[in-house]
Subunit: 353 residues, 2 copies
């Protein structure tokens, strides 16, 4: 099935390119002049009327030019758009910000988020998932000073969390090691939601409930797990939206920024569209989302084996420079992959297993 004849495609592409550039409704004459299609404005006018009828264009009011509809953008993104190569400066910038050799995965993703907000001039959102598939890898109890120790939990998604606890002053390091070993033996390899009452009981049985170290350590482990399981969301470059005329109205800007402050909304949005490709795109965010309904999200997800470790997205007006954002994301994705492999030293793959 052919979608649109060649001429209509060319015209639609020209219109959308122009609109992305100027944010002004584009008229037939503009297209006839600026884009080398050998047609008069009248002909283009007829084609535009057709395109509107097919739902690819809209008219803000009778005597204005046309603007693309969400359907129009979709076609544009899927078939018409040209990817925009990154400039040398942009490549340099990404290289630099990704070669800090940060050791924690969350930090790498955050860094990438900052980079993409800088390069695309849109707002970047980065988040960690809340997933029951994360497995514990190691648990350690480490003495800090008399009466104080640190519980440390490491997961297979590369997250490290710690929680300070108070213990009896006369607790010897040997006991701590012993307890660490038991916790490790019983908990490591389990996913977060496999840790339940029976498992805890089995630890209690092994150590003995009377042991005064058990409770603080348990509480410490619990706190670490809570921290791991508490999804984090970061915004970078939120004030970039002021670049764009669609937010020149304070009310609009406010609604946008307030919406982004509602982390749960953002989370729902982010995981609501699928991610079959490396980079997936949601055009138009629907009517329930006052403030961001005329926005699009372009996002990518990072995994380690079959565990999702985080996700980065760019949110901006539907009139977004899709070509540029997508190229940036693709490139950044490669760099992040390399960096994660560097740090973890394991194989990194998109999904699969």
């Amino acid at each position: 099935m052919i979608i649109l004849d060649e001429r209509k495609r060319k015209i639609l592409q020209a219109i959308i390119d122009n609109y992305i550039d100027t944010a002004e409704p584009v008229g037939s004459r503009t297209i006839a002049r600026k884009h080398e299609i050998g047609l008069s404005s009248a002909t283009i006018r007829n084609e535009m009327a057709d395109l509107e009828e097919m739902g690819y264009l809209e008219q803000p009011h009778t005597s204005a030019g046309r603007i693309p509809s969400d359907k129009g953008y979709r076609l544009y993104v899927d078939h018409l758009m040209k990817l925009r190569e990154l400039t040398d400066e942009e490549i340099d910038y990404i290289q630099n910000s990704m070669s800090l050799h940060i050791s924690e995965l969350g930090q790498i993703i955050r860094q990438a988020s900052i980079a993409i907000s800088k390069i695309t001039k849109y707002t970047a959102v980065s988040m960690t998932p809340q997933t029951s598939r994360i497995r514990l890898k190691a648990i350690q109890v480490v003495p800090i000073e008399a009466g104080k120790a640190l519980v440390i939990v490491v997961t297979n998604s590369g997250v490290i969390r710690n929680s300070p606890i108070k213990i009896s002053e006369k607790m010897s390091p040997d006991i701590l090691i012993h307890i660490s070993n038991i916790f490790n033996e019983r908990l490591s390899g389990l996913t977060l939601d496999e840790i339940n009452i029976p498992v805890i009981r089995s630890i209690e049985n092994k150590i003995g409930t009377s042991n005064e170290i058990l409770m603080p350590v348990l509480r410490g482990v619990e706190e670490c797990i809570t921290k791991i399981d508490t999804p984090e969301i970061f915004l970078d470059g939120a004030s970039n939206i002021f670049e764009y005329p669609e937010f020149r109205d304070t009310v609009k800007a406010r609604e946008f920024l307030s919406k982004l402050d509602e982390k749960d909304v953002l989370r729902t949005l982010f995981w609501s569209f699928d991610d079959e490709n490396d980079v997936s795109i949601q055009i138009g965010l629907g009517n329930n989302n006052e403030g961001i309904k005329d926005c699009s999200i372009i996002k990518t997800t990072y995994s380690l084996g079959d565990v999702v470790i985080g996700s980065i997205g760019v949110i901006g007006p539907t009139r977004m420079e899709y070509g540029k954002v997508i190229s940036s994301m693709n490139y950044l994705r490669e760099r992040v992959k390399e960096e994660i492999e560097n740090v973890i030293g394991e194989n990194f793959s998109k999904g699969g297993r």
Copy 2:
């Protein structure tokens, strides 16, 4: 020295109260009617002319009412203003958000920052200091799995940082403990800037440079120290500024938000005025600071012994509800103190020693 006679003070207070409330220049008639001063508008007009001459008031243009000058606000804050009691809801809110029993100091301060931005409806800024007076308290190297370990550094300001390192696969836990002990012995008690080449050398001598574990651990410690020394700044409730008519202009709002994104500016501002009292106030942020020049900062600093552990501030238009913000800060301060004592279990004092 008496500052202003009783009548002028009453009138000034009434004007500032009114302006803080409405954001509109206030005229003589408004004061005569709304505030029970038994004077006619004409008399008040004369007094207002006096107050303007003395520099406490300003006139946006000839036929408008008066607005307070920075000097006026200063007098207001120091002598005229009434503290506004917190409502039961506000107290409840603070109690709840402070009783999560978070174990890390940075998190407690962040939590307090979120709370105060919610209650005051202004933007809250929280930051950790960059100070050379922080001392290391403990260093530990903990095995995670074959070939991987974690370096953990704890400071006397309650900050805990970790850094994963790669080690030889056949490294035994005993050696790690041994190395931990040496690092502890040589580094704990030192301030960050006391850790220099000779100190490192002494560790090398003790362990022996040939030891293949030394370098990764050193690098891990270094990374932890960098993390400790990297000041963090958080903004909460940045979109609150849209509440206020002085930012109804998109340009203004944008300048404000962009300025807050420049972390170093914020840092400089924050530490540029002194903190003799629990809560200190800077009225008007000067002309170098486009975007926030007509703003005030109200801030408080938290210390543990003689080490500053963090600072929380509220930034908003000079026309700020000083009474409310100050009460909230005072109350929150008490709660944070309690919470820190809870966690640390040591005495907490403002500065002194």
